[in-house]
Assembly symmetry: C2
Homo-oligomer: 348 residues x 2
């Protein structure tokens, strides 16, 4: 009946081989183990993962290139945030049935300790659980806090937002519109560009896949570019840097165009911008630079979802086993909006 | 491990006493039974309810007043749509793990047959499951199909939408804006009115709780009213009927202001409007009048959620046991947006 069962089948996806360039399905493997809920130690929780986040930064963890975090080793469970429900608890702070966000990795179940820095309870029931991974999670906080601290936006300025339909870019552009900027998006397909202008309200959105991308971008920015929100690198970066005004700012939260490149330490946005004759204010940032503002950011973002004042979009893959293909697709822009995996809804 | 368990604890909420006027918690009771999954017959499914819908029409079922459906009897499980997941199946059409919408009533689990007319599989993974009960469910279809067939809207006309922040009214008003109408909402609190204008994009929204409601409504409709979307009755109806233009239409999908009234057959919108000297085109409709357009409506609404082209808002109560209080609150407008109950996420 409703008694907790002592044993659970845990599925995990490991990085079997370190990807060389574009990851393939053979770089990943599914492992199965048993978790014995009765073996929890004091302060520990057993969490069943409901939704798993897929984010571009995970590709960096699969590489040996220098980064802000240690790389995965072959055989390691792939890193990732998730939202889940507590199946068993030896914590006084967390109880069975509560929904929590944590850094579970790509797994169906995991055990963590109540003091884990990445563990926190969901705090608003009026938003979908999956949004804790996107607009109300790490990508949303990256957008909100990075824009707040690094863009130094002033009404009337022009901002170019890369990956404009993605989990971070979509929010940055909407925040910029709320503050009275002219907002130019850059995205892949025409369908994404239409979404960015018609639904998200950007002034223009240009496909970096179009032959005359550079000309179109120049035409869309008659007063130059005051802020470039950099998440991609590549062709977009090269086009925007020719348009930067004196005093421009370039917050850099990633450069996905390089992530599948083994030589990704050459030609990063930091290097390209620093080599300019008159470089703008720029810098790579991590959302964790503003840990003490997470609550403010998360509550603002959750309320924006409740009210609909910030729009978001999700691509949902179903089943943990679909995570590798969804991840590989995301790295080439096959997702449309925040990529999430629905790991479980209820059937054990 | 992952074997289906034969027995499940089923919780149900029954109408213990027929409410007299405003329902009270004592009118409801929680019952517990066991469902034996191994006793399913051919074609049957065992569904675990994840989200339960609460809708004003359910109050009508609790009354003996004449209606389009038979009333509940004391001891009956309260009627209601839900979205759930299949725990066990003897159907070839539906499989374990699939998510489905059905008319489960206020229950944690229920058994249904694959041919049940109210059973259908969810069809879009990129929207939250709870939206199948609101904007992509019965209320959304009521708005979309009722507006399409009964409003006969023309660009430039003026529509007044009652219950403007609610599950149906919010969608009607947004559809009317998309078609170029001037849209005036009526709602309860000032907070709801602000949401309706600032987020949903209505031209005006007026609180029926304000002393000078009638004057404000008249001022907001300088060209009179061509369409009145009626879901409430009461003060709103009485104010709007004085403003109706020649040729006006009044689609009636409900009249919540009367539902707690034992004498609700007197003074319905139908009666009040029919008694006018020059009555507008009006009529009570049921979304089931257009069963053959459900797929069209549902797919349009789901895509609108994916894209964000129609906004919605939910009030989520947690736990089946919270359904009675959430329902009672909804009847007096305590909810803000579609009222849903999260019955279960995963812990049995």
């Amino acid at each position: 009946m409703s008694n907790a069962k002592p044993n659970y089948l845990k599925q995990s996806i490991i990085m079997k081989h370190r990807p060389n360039g574009v990851p393939t399905l053979n770089d990943f493997a599914l492992e199965e183990n048993t978790i014995d809920a009765s073996s929890l130690k004091r302060g520990e929780l057993l969490i069943k993962v409901l939704y798993l986040s897929l984010d571009p930064y995970m590709r960096c963890r699969m590489s040996l290139a220098k980064s802000y975090a240690d790389p995965l080793q072959e055989g390691d469970i792939v890193t990732g945030e998730s939202v889940g429900v507590i199946l068993a608890s030896k914590s006084e702070q967390y109880k069975v049935g509560q929904t929590v966000c944590s850094m579970s990795g790509w797994q169906s179940h995991h055990v963590t300790h109540e003091t884990a820095p990445d563990l926190y309870a969901t705090f608003n029931d009026n938003i979908p659980l999956s949004t804790y991974l996107g607009i109300v999670g790490m990508p949303g906080r990256t957008a909100y806090l990075g824009f707040k601290h690094k863009a130094k936006a002033k009404s009337g300025e022009t901002i170019v937002v890369s990956a404009a339909s993605g989990a971070v870019g979509a929010i940055v552009g909407q925040l910029a519109k709320q503050q009275g900027l002219t907002v130019i998006g850059v995205a892949g397909s025409q369908q994404k560009c239409d979404y960015v202008t018609q639904q998200l309200g950007f002034d223009h959105c240009i496909s970096y896949l179009s032959d005359d991308f550079e000309d179109k971008l120049t035409a869309a920015c008659p007063k130059g570019v005051d802020i470039y929100w950099e998440g991609v690198g590549g062709r977009t970066l090269n086009a925007v840097i020719t348009l930067l005004n004196q005093g421009a700012r370039v917050p850099i939260c990633g450069f996905i165009a390089n992530y599948n490149n083994a030589q990704r330490l050459t030609g990063t946005p930091m290097q390209i911008i620093a080599a300019l004759e008159n470089p703008p204010e720029h810098g790579f940032f991590l959302v964790s630079d503003w840990l003490d503002e997470y609550i403010e950011a998360s509550e603002f973002l959750a309320q924006s979802v409740v009210e609909g004042s910030l729009k978001f979009r999700e691509s949902m893959a179903v089943g943990l086993e679909s995570a590798p293909s969804a991840f590989i697709g995301m790295l080439s822009g096959k997702n449309f909006g925040k990529q999430v995996v629905r790991v479980s809804i209820d059937v054990e």
